[in-house]
Amino acid sequence: MEAVASEKIPFWLNPKIRGIFYQAGVICCFAFLAWYLVSNTLHNLEKQSIATGFSFLNKESAFEVGESLISYSSADTYGRALIVGALNTLKVSFFGILLTLLLGTLVGLSRLSSNWLVSRLAALYTEVMQNIPVLLQLFFWYAVFYEMLPSPRGALNPVNGLFLCNRGVIFAVPEAHAAHKFMLLSLGIALAAAFFLRNWAKKRQATTGKHFPIFWVSAGIIAGLPVMVWLFFGAPMNMDMPALKGFNYKGGATLSPEFIALLLGLVLYTAAFVAEVVRAGVQSVSRGQTEAARSIGLRSGQVLNLVILPQALRVIVPPLTSQMLNLTKNSSLAVAIGFPDFVSVANTTINQTGQSIEGVALIMMVYLMFSLSTSAFMNWYNKKTKLIER
């Protein structure tokens, strides 16, 4: 057979052989390019006697980082400084995503509102925010923050225990107390309990048709348990009040202007995109669904919960995830306004060690890790929602 085929079709026209030939060609080109770049780089590094390798991670960094979630000083290593940066990136992404979801959903639903004024305003918001570069927005908020607010000595004090000045927003927090640990623990227990309760209620409803007020009961558990623990410890009320000592406020918790500007810029920008996603998702559910749900006597809350949301979410979630990833990636712009995120710390590291290749590789690896883990989660989620589908 083979012989016959090759007689009919000359081998250079056989798609299979051609395919192999093309691929071999591509591999050769690619390998050559890689070899060329690597050999150039090695030659250049050697010629200019630039150090290579990641051994610098264990060396003393000798620079300070403005804000940190874990203890850090200039006596620590570059490795630890980079971890501090990565945690800062996670921090700003976490709060950014939370706030973006809230604001984005609000604006997206406002756009669908039958109220003309509200929907116009929401449309104006999305149109304007989407069309202005996020970096410009970051610069704008940062400048607004430090140009408009007074110095610490003349700080605005709208509410007792809250200070606004060009060093940031400083607010009172509860004083450290043994109860807090247990409150956190009880919150965890309450969440787990609520989760199991939900599953049980669902199963019961599926088998017996009896409805269980799951929302109110779980809300009660989640709020009630920590409060009970708090009361058990004698309701510690002491607050750690910030006070002006020397140059800056001591005590309380501080949100730096860089953090606030970054958060504000990212949230306002990304929320505009999320609003569009939410709107498209809700609109993707046909009106007939709402009308049908109404006609079988569901209340409007139930219509949203049981009919619209499950269908809309399937449309919303994939683009929403990519917006959340965008927010995380855009948080790298922190370097422009001086918030010590991962890129900013890596940048300083590159500067001090001169090892730019390793530094940029680290930046890319960390963000790739974020993205890949998110897409892994997304794949899992998609599979899960698909299973529920029918």
Partner: protein, 337 residues
């Protein structure tokens, strides 16, 4: 269409790419100008004026090199670089020489593959604070928020200083000099730390210069010198002796105004220096008139200092360490023979 686009791309690449394989001197001669990396944001050292013309001590040093190589101080182009970019730009031959108030350190000489030539400004790090804070010593800065450029020796020195003195501090790092100053003058930080000369420069452009003082403590040594790449000794010699020539000329009393008269001088060292007695230029691979061209077109070190940062400028810096060794300073040129 596609082939058209490819052609455009190739044409663009060819238009933008430069190839240089020989030594730096030959490259520079071939392209007809020197590409110098500068800061771009420090008044008195390197900053464009209203008309976009570059001015300052670092800029004039680069011009002097152009005068030595081409006999024309105008054949130099400036590229503003951030702190992160400056060393890679030099390593990758994007620039021929870096005149960007860069501190000579052991690490930079060794693991970064750079060579520092003779120092053109001796500096030290200090602190600039608003007067109204009522601070008169750096030791009182406990708990302060400090504006500092990242990736500089300044940042490391500040960390060392506060750690060594057992003081608490909070750095605010913004990579761009101009942005950092803006944040400081807007009150984002209690103090700004940098080399004293730069602090003076930054104060001079403050909205109200009188509202700020430089604290007396100088916490580091900052020998600022032009930088070239490792491994090109001829180019190193040229840049090195250009800086030295500026100093030597001041010591010999040769200025841009009297240099023509000095050509007729009978002193053997002046005759050698100005190339009346030939030999020195040849040794560097340059024209024998190289030093004459530098002084004629750019002036000696004293002149540059006076017009860029000296007492009669907005900066108002004294010569101090940057005086000639004969006047108690550190400026000392190797003999020209």
């Amino acid at each position: 269409m596609k082939s058209l686009k490819i052609c455009i791309v190739i044409a663009a690449v060819l238009a933008f790419a430069g190839v240089s394989l020989a030594g730096t001197l030959d490259d520079v001669r071939a392209k007809g100008f020197i590409q110098a990396g500068v800061n771009g944001g420090v008044f008195g050292f390197s900053m464009p004026n209203d008309k976009g013309l570059w001015e300052g001590l670092d800029v004039d040093t680069a011009r002097a090199i152009a005068a030595a190589v081409f006999g024309d101080a105008g054949k130099v182009k400036f590229m503003p670089l951030t702190a992160v970019q400056r060393l890679p730009a030099l390593q990758s031959k994007e620039i021929d020489v870096l005149c960007r108030n860069t501190t000579q350190t052991l690490t930079r000489e060794t693991t970064n593959g750079l060579n520092f030539v003779a120092v053109n400004y001796y500096d030290g790090q200090g602190f600039l604070v608003p007067k109204k804070l009522g601070v008169n010593s750096a030791k009182q800065l406990d708990g302060a928020t400090v504006c500092v450029l990242p990736g500089t020796t300044t940042e490391l020195n500040a960390a060392d200083f506060f750690r060594g003195s057992g003081l608490q501090w909070k750095p605010v790092v913004i990579e761009n000099t101009a942005e950092l100053n803006k944040a400081f003058f807007a009150g984002r930080c209690d103090c700004l730390t940098s080399d004293v000369s730069q602090l003076a420069a930054q104060r001079s452009v403050a909205p109200n210069p009188g509202d700020y003082i430089i604290l007396p403590e100088v916490i580091s040594k900052e020998p600022l010198a032009p930088v070239v790449r490792h491994g090109d000794d001829q180019w190193f010699d040229i840049v090195n002796f250009t800086v030295m020539a500026l100093i030597e000329a001041e010591e010999l009393g040769i200025t841009s105004k009297n240099v023509d008269k000095m050509l007729k001088s009978e002193l053997p060292q002046i005759k050698r220096f100005l190339g009346v007695t030939p030999g020195l230029g040849k040794a560097l691979g340059l024209d024998d008139k190289w030093a004459y061209n530098i002084i004629k077109q750019v002036g000696n070190y004293g002149e540059i200092f006076e017009r860029s940062v000296g007492p009669n400028t907005k900066l108002g810096l004294e010569r101090g360490l940057n005086g000639l060794w004969t006047n108690g300073g550190l400026m000392y040129a190797a003999p020209f023979r």
